[in-house]
């Protein structure tokens, strides 16, 4: 049975992005359903960030189709942006503002009801409530990452795009952050696109995985299916196999 249109958060068909020197994304076809966590995996330059940027409306595709909530990410940005959010290891909140000032400004931009309560709740959830009067620039990279996640959850998004969200967290904090994200995701039936180089993390959090290499989808499926398909005991082994022989597209 095909999913109802309302339950499909993201749909791409032969999505391609070409730059003069390379194809950053080559015919990506994927779907994300409500309540699903899909991991985009692949080595550097595989096309993960390119795909995220297209979904966020930061990059226009060269060809192919893409819809978010059934709408165009660029043309319908105003409608989509209220229901979506993102966090990236490469995007920061202004370092010269305090933690609570940054969140206050974004709560106004997202028109969050009861912003003070929401901000306090999120800061406590990610265990950085004691830092709310600290300058953002004075936070450690792990604290900044958690602050970015607070920003990303301010508007209770239906769809969350996370680009290496735990890249700068120590293993213990990363584990707690993953549990928090998984809990919120389950409670709200949120759809998440997740990129990471940490294969154990991906295995733990993602329902389904797309392996990308040089812009192409190499394989797709649940973590268990993929490991079985590649006759490997971990996703890390699969990753290494794919990168070393990545030109072969699997069924």
């Amino acid at each position: 049975m095909s999913p109802s249109p309302e339950s499909v958060l993201i749909a791409t068909r032969n999505l391609t992005k070409s730059f003069p020197d390379a194809n950053a994304l080559d015919s990506l076809t994927m779907r994300l359903q409500r309540g699903e966590v899909v991991g985009l995996l692949g080595p550097n330059g595989a096309g993960k960030t390119t795909a995220l940027h297209i979904l966020l409306g930061l990059l226009s595709p060269t060809s192919g189709g893409v819809t978010v909530f059934g709408l165009s990410p660029i043309r319908d940005r105003a409608k989509i942006s209220k229901r979506i959010n993102f966090s990236s290891a490469y995007v920061q909140l202004p370092s010269n503002l305090k933690v609570r000032e940054n969140l206050k400004i974004f709560s106004m931009i997202y028109n969050v009801p009861n912003p003070a309560r929401k901000i306090d709740f999120l800061l406590e959830l990610f265990e950085i409530g004691h830092l709310k009067n600290r300058l953002t620039g004075a936070l450690s990279s792990g604290e900044k990452t958690r602050l970015n996640l607070c920003k990303a959850l301010l508007n209770d998004p239906e769809l969350l795009l996370l680009d290496e969200p735990t890249a700068s967290l120590d293993p213990e904090v990363a584990e707690r952050v993953r549990l928090i994200l998984k809990k919120i995701q389950k409670e709200r039936a949120m759809g998440i696109i997740y990129t990471s180089h940490n294969m154990a993390e991906v295995e733990q959090i993602c329902d389904r995985i797309l392996f990308l290499h040089r812009g192409k989808t190499i394989t797709e499926g649940t973590p268990a299916d993929i490991m079985r398909h590649f006759n490997s005991r971990s996703l890390e082994q699969v990753f290494i196999k794919i990168v070393r022989g990545g030109d072969v597209i699997c069924e």
Binding site: T49, L58, F86, K104
Partner: protein
């Protein structure tokens, strides 16, 4: 109605973002008034010296000079208000957060307009008080009611130059940062700021007539000289600003579209 309220909240949010910066940084706040005041000191004392050695013959020229300096600062600060706001987001790697948020470009530009307006009002008041106290030049008294349409045209033109500069920043990022400070000086020689239009070579005069700023500075000199202002100075300035408004919005949209196509938009601040 809900949508209007949401827009107003977002505009207030962005204004708050700029105000927080001032609360945080004394040097940033002082910087608003430091450069204009220093410029006024230099130009003002130069005019005092000229007045002394010419024994009163150049008194009118002195008035033009100080008036022009105050007006020029208005245009310059209006352009800076927009472009610095954009580059600040690039420097702090926050620009992607804003571009994927519900904040619309017009809301962002409106916030920069309001923020710049009050900043310039503060600077102009301060400069006028200093000019009155130190050089006995009553700027508001000399220009009178005409100050409003003249200053409005300069402010709008500066703001539009800021939007065009922001388009370049969105398209090329750090590579064109120097233009933020350079672009106003591209129009300076052609705007007949410190000298009358008739001094310029004929071919430059033709270019100057396409700049709203030329009409403002020519108008200012007419007011100081004759005490009135013909509509021939105000209407072309407003009309040209209308045309440049459309052009700057189209230019910004084109630059944004190119930035999206090349992938620059998502990488702004990261290179």
């Amino acid at each position: 109605m809900l949508s209007v309220n949401e827009s107003l909240t977002r505009i207030r949010g962005m204004i708050l973002r700029y105000l927080y910066l001032h609360r945080r940084s004394v040097s940033r706040t002082l910087e608003i008034i430091f450069w204009p005041v220093m410029e006024l000191f230099v130009w003002g004392f130069l005019t005092v010296y000229l007045r002394a050695i010419s024994q009163g013959e150049v008194s009118q020229f002195i008035v033009y000079l100080i008036g022009a300096m105050i007006f020029w600062d208005l245009l310059y600060r209006a352009q800076q208000g927009v472009s610095i706001s954009i580059v600040e987001e690039i420097w702090t790697q926050n620009i992607a957060n804003l571009f994927v948020s519900p904040l619309r470009i017009w809301e962002w530009m409106t916030a920069t307009f309001i923020y710049s307006f009050f900043k310039i009002l503060l600077i102009m008041t301060l400069l006028s008080l200093i000019a009155l106290g130190l050089y006995h030049f009553n700027f508001f008294g000399s220009v009178g009611f005409y100050l409003i349409p003249l200053a409005a045209n300069l402010f709008i033109f500066g703001w539009l130059l800021g939007i065009a500069t922001s388009g370049l920043l969105i398209r090329w990022g750090h590579a064109v940062e120097a233009l933020i400070w350079g672009i106003p000086f591209l129009v300076q020689p052609f705007s007949a700021i410190f000298y009358p239009l008739s001094i310029l070579p004929v071919w430059i005069q033709k270019i100057a007539l396409f700049l709203p700023s030329t009409y403002v500075f020519e108008g200012m000199r007419q007011i100081i000289q004759q005490g009135n202002l013909q509509p021939g100075f105000i209407l072309p300035a407003f009309l040209l600003n209308g045309v440049y408004f459309l052009l700057s919005v189209l230019f910004f949209a084109l630059m944004l579209s190119r930035s999206r196509a090349t992938g620059r938009l998502g990488r702004l601040g990261m290179d």
